[in-house]
């Protein structure tokens, strides 16, 4: 994974201007697509795998020979929904610092770290109980 755009996590070095530009470009290529299109878009030398939940797009940028479907389901496996109980955009804004924790539990250094929702939720609840 090169970067994740939800709560933005970058696994490659970009400077801030470049990051902003990337976000805008990804937004431009992804939002014009409809349900009949694939969930994959070629993007520069990479590809974007994205999934749309209501108005929210979850995008992951990966290398061109990475496994599309595996990352598509990795997005779905992302436990935000379970953690926040029917997540909406506001949850993500107000709890942005917790979202980072969730991301780091599941993805680290651009790789999938943990795939068991049960294990991740248990860990998050444990952390929640800490002062």
């Amino acid at each position: 994974i090169r970067f994740i755009l939800i709560q933005n996590r970058w696994y490659m070095q970009f400077d801030d201007d470049e990051k902003q530009k990337l976000i805008e470009e990804v937004h431009a290529v992804v939002t014009v697509r409809d349900a009949k299109h694939t969930n994959f878009v070629e993007f520069r030398n990479f590809k974007i795998i994205y999934r749309r939940y209501a108005g929210l797009y979850f995008c992951i940028c990966v290398d061109v020979n990475d496994n599309n479907l595996a990352y598509l389901e990795a997005i779905h496996n992302f436990v935000l929904n379970e953690y926040f109980h029917n997540v909406c955009e506001l949850d993500l804004v107000f709890n942005f610092y917790k979202v980072y924790t969730v991301v780091d539990e599941m993805f680290l250094a651009g790789e999938i770290r943990e795939t068991s929702q049960t294990k991740v939720l248990k860990q998050l609840l444990m952390l929640q109980s800490l002062e």
Partner: protein, 967 residues
């Protein structure tokens, strides 16, 4: 406002965030932010020491402000202070701030590293993970220097918690990617590999990623991972849908881990250990079988997870490219997906099939889907899917379907999205050139390209058509006639004017006899376009005009008038002015003879790699170049796929049916080249005695294979003593070719692949054969990180092989193999081969040059076949073998192998449809050997009977031996 979850919420933060969200304008937002920044600054500067909670809250606010896109230039110190807090929530905010707003202030880095060090040593798994995540997210060199040595220890320590191991593995991965030199391999590597056996699947998931990354640079250190990965994979794919509990995702056991394991295996060639390989093949088969089972859930998540594994499995099968049975099954599976209602699956199937098309085993199977793919090109709504369809058509194209594919692509071009037009144009141009049997078709195709998408036809494309027309005199008249007609369209593209101008200037005389295209008509047609054209085109047309003066003296006066006009002689453009002045003077002062010499027809262009192909490679980026290369399989196999047509201009080749079996006495072998010095020998071959008109590739072949001109200038002869193939220095590489026979067998039915590989060196081979000539490209890859010195590959011909086959290591001057090969680099060498007589033992360095490479497939009707079969009824002309099948008996695979072997496959000859019958001629310089073959599979007994009849006894036996080992 949503409820900020439970106890640890920071009320002040929530209020601030909702204030910001309530701001009606950008200005209001900035005002609110500035107010907050001032507040935080005063709090940080105040005399009163802040408690941990306040610090956390303010740092978090600063982070939020930063994420909104504002610069933050203070607060770093407070964040660093939070790192040493004992409270998780405070520490977490501190680390988050640091990892998002990295600052290279050296004083701060020292403090941060100190805090990380303490947390890593704390034995508190939560704190350790926070510290590891911070390193993994920042990944800076400074952090690498400070921690690269500690992390492997934490990773393999017996008492580390599972979650810590997971984080440590990926943290190490990030450091290795950022600064590989800082992560020394050590005794920990073996223990890392054993993490693949860990009970905790999360640990395995993280460890596989790490190993996959590390093994790419140090394959041998991690080689033991192959068997561990296979057994782990095998346990997962054979488990029931609920066995893995937490790691089952919509009834699919551990999909991500399976995918990662399959990717790890793609870093290596197929397992050498037969048991491991058997187990792996079983896994792959299980995955393919499961794809046919009814789904356990209707949810798309279920099928996606299942198919993620399936596609990765297919990638591995393609990577191995050695299991014909699996390749064909993979292709059939993808074929089903081509018509699936999920767009994602159709897209991925097209993409994956594209790589299958370049495998010799599955190429034919891929071709059967051509209609579906063409339909996709026409009807898919998503342009990226259409693009994959176009890629696949390009990859599956060969002589048998080129006309259909090119015409479909041309049709698509009329409505294609602008973004991909240029690429389609390049592809059409390449296919048309590569598979042209009939050059008028090629010319028509290129002119159609210009007509349909002139703006996207780059210089490379129209230069190429000119080169080809110039080099082939059989198409020049047709080309002149066609461009003349095309130019009559009222609005024609400027590129058409360029091509037309050039061709008429060279070959306009060929159509001048027809009054409808008499010289004055040609001239006025061209000149009617002149004024609308760019400077470059007008310059080209001026050259055409001066050529006309030579070709058609009757146009001289008119053309001189045009050149003399003020608009030319005093043109503001220097180039145009100069041409007008010079051409005018030339036409007035030079005698007819001088004029004829100066303006003579252009000489043929030297053949070289198609500039169009080079351009397509550039467009696709470096990664795609190899894929394109793979896509262009050697012309000989294309011939096979395409069946019969003998290439048109190979005058020297007797038509196959005329002399199929070489029964008519072959011309006596030209006295075998005096077995003089090797150098002489080669000169003999390439400069060729005049008595042997068939020497060197004909223009046709040279054109098709885009090779160097027919007679490479003095190829370097390197026939020498049987020294080891390469001398990489002090280290002994051991016997050069272990199990050479086995290696050779691998190449009997295919032309490309890895010939040899050890720790130091990889030799790849790509070869193409045509009649009795062959060209082999050898790629020497230095797998070490040090330079090879005095690198000098040598070919040795054992015994009297020299009188049977000639091979020389020749390098085009521009591609000389360097004596040094840098670490990690690859050099290429070209080997020219001529088969003089039939031969049995291949050259040393064990080049996969076996006699069947010089097969020319021959189509014939049943009646002819039987007649010839009977003619070869002497006992010594026949060789027969009955043997047990070593591979699954699949008709498609067998067909692919027989075609790869080189003979034509004849349908409807054998009364038993299960049997295979083939025919071909072995082309050598001295003689041709007609060969007939028949393969009778017996599925029940798992046996084959193979019969070869040829006009030469040893050839029958040898071919029979070679081929029998393939089934």
């Amino acid at each position: 406002m949503p409820a900020v979850s439970k106890g640890d919420g920071m009320r002040g933060l929530a209020v601030f965030i909702s204030d910001i969200r309530n701001c009606k304008s950008k200005e209001a937002e900035i005002k609110r932010i500035n107010k907050e920044l001032a507040n935080i600054r005063s709090k940080f500067k105040g005399d009163k020491a802040l408690d941990g909670y306040s610090k956390k809250k303010y740092v978090c606010k600063l982070l939020f402000i930063f994420l909104l896109g504002h610069d933050i230039d203070f607060g770093h110190m407070e964040a660093v202070n939070l790192l040493s807090s004992n409270k998780y929530t405070e520490k977490q905010i501190g680390y988050l701030f640091i990892s998002v707003l990295v600052n290279s202030n050296s004083e701060l880095i020292r403090l941060i590293n100190n805090a990380i060090k303490n947390d890593l040593a704390s034995r508190n798994p939560t704190f350790m993970c926070l510290a590891l995540h911070c390193i993994a997210n920042v990944g800076s060199r400074e952090m690498g220097e400070a921690f690269a040595a500690d992390i492997p220890r934490i990773l393999v320590a017996g008492d580390s918690m599972d979650s810590v191991k997971q984080s440590a593995a990926l943290c190490l991965l990030r450091l290795y990617k950022a600064s590989p030199d800082l992560v020394p391999m050590g005794e920990w590597t073996a223990r890392v590999v054993h993490l693949l056996n860990d009970q905790h699947m999360g640990v395995v998931t993280a460890a596989v990623s790490l190993i996959t990354c590390l093994c790419k640079k140090n394959p041998d250190d991690f080689k033991t991972c192959i068997s561990l990965a296979v057994s782990r994979l095998s346990r997962i794919v054979s488990s029931a849908s609920t066995d893995l509990q937490d790691y089952t995702y919509y009834f699919v056991p551990a999909p991500w881990l399976s995918v990662k394991l399959l990717r790890l295996l793609q870093c290596y060639p197929p397992p050498e250990d037969a048991a491991v390989k058997g187990r792996l093949v079983e896994c792959l088969e299980t995955v393919l079988n499961k794809a046919q089972e009814p789904p356990k859930s209707k949810k798309v998540q279920h099928s996606n997870a299942k198919n993620a594994i399936l596609f990765e499995t297919i990638s591995l099968i393609i990577h191995y490219d050695s299991e014909p049975n699996l390749l064909v099954r993979a292709c059939n599976q993808l074929g089903q997906f081509l018509q699936h209602r999920e767009t994602n699956l159709r897209y991925l199937a097209l993409e994956s099939m594209c790589t299958l098309a370049s495998s010799e085993f599955s190429h034919e199977a891929v071709k059967t889907h051509i209609d579906t793919v063409i339909n996709a090109l026409k009807t898919e709504r998503d342009v990226s899917v259409r693009q994959r369809a176009a890629d696949l058509l390009y990859a599956m194209c060969d002589r048998s379907n080129a006309k259909q594919i090119v015409s479909e692509m041309l049709r698509y071009l009329e409505t294609a999205d602008y973004a991909i037009r240029e690429e389609i144009v390049l592809k059409v141009a390449i296919l048309a050139e590569k598979y042209a049997v009939d050059y008028s078709w090629y010319v028509d195709t290129i002119l159609n390209l210009i007509r349909i998408a002139g703006d996207y036809v780059s210089e490379e494309v129209w230069y190429r058509v000119l080169q080809i027309v110039t080099n082939r005199d059989d198409v020049q008249g047709y080309a002149a006639k066609t461009v003349f007609e095309a130019l009559q369209a009222p609005a024609c593209h400027e590129n058409m004017v360029k091509v037309g101008g050039y061709i008429l200037g060279e070959f306009g005389n060929l159509i001048a006899g027809d009054p409808r295209s008499s010289p004055p008509v040609q001239f006025s047609l061209l000149h009617s376009k002149f004024h609308l054209c760019s400077v470059a085109t007008r310059a080209l047309l001026l050259s055409t005009y001066i050529k006309f003066i030579n070709l058609f003296p009757e146009t001289k006066a008119t053309i001189q008038g045009v050149l003399r006009a003020g608009s030319q002689l005093r043109n503001a453009d220097v180039e145009l002015q100069q041409r007008a002045v010079e051409y005018l003077t030339l036409s007035s002062v030079a005698s007819t003879d001088v004029l004829a010499t100066v303006l003579e027809e252009m000489p043929p262009f030297p053949e070289r790699e198609s500039s169009i192909l080079a351009k397509l490679k550039r467009k696709k980026g470096p990664g795609a170049a190899s894929a394109l290369d793979d896509g262009r399989r050697d012309p000989s196999s294309n011939d096979i796929n395409g069946g019969v047509e003998p290439t048109p201009s190979t005058v020297s080749t007797p038509s196959p049916s005329a002399d199929l079996l070489g029964l008519r006495a072959a011309p006596p072998p030209a006295a075998p080249p005096a077995s003089a010095g090797a150098g002489n020998l080669l000169v003999d071959v390439f400069d060729g005695p005049a008595a042997q008109p068939s020497l060197g590739p004909t223009p046709e072949e040279a054109f098709l294979s885009e090779l160097e001109p027919p007679a490479p200038e003095s190829p370097m002869a390197l026939l020498a003593d049987p020294a080891p193939a390469a001398d990489p220095g002090p280290e002994d590489i051991g016997p050069p070719i272990p199990e050479a026979d086995e290696l050779l067998n691998k190449f009997v039915c295919k032309n490309n692949g890895v010939l040899f590989e050890n720790q130091l060196l990889q030799i790849g081979v790509k070869s193409e054969f045509r009649q009795n000539l062959g060209r082999m490209y050898l790629f020497y890859g230095n797998k070490t990180s040090v330079q090879f010195q005095n690198f000098s590959p040598t070919v040795v011909h054992p015994g009297d092989l020299q009188t049977h086959i000639l091979s020389g290591l020749g390098q085009p001057p521009t591609k000389r193999v360097a004596a040094q090969v840098d670490g990690g680099a690859q050099v290429q060498q070209v080997l020219n081969i001529e088969c003089l007589r039939d031969f049995l033992t291949p050259p040393l360095l064990s080049l996969p040059v076996t006699i069947n490479k010089f097969f020319q497939p021959t189509e014939m009707a049943a009646q002819d076949f039987f007649q010839r079969w009977k003619q070869l009824s002497l006992p010594q002309q026949e060789a027969q073998k009955i043997f047990k099948a070593n591979h699954p008996m699949d008709a498609e695979v067998t067909k692919a192998k027989l075609l790869g072997f080189g003979s034509a496959l004849l349908d409807n000859v054998d009364p038993n449809p299960e049997n295979f019958v083939g025919a071909g001629i072995i082309q050598t310089k001295a003689l041709q050997v007609g060969c007939l073959l028949r393969l009778e599979p017996n599925a029940q007994a798992q046996m084959y009977r193979l019969t070869l009849r040829t006009s030469k006894e040893p050839v029958s036996r040898h071919l029979c031996e070679l081929l029998a080992q393939q089934f």
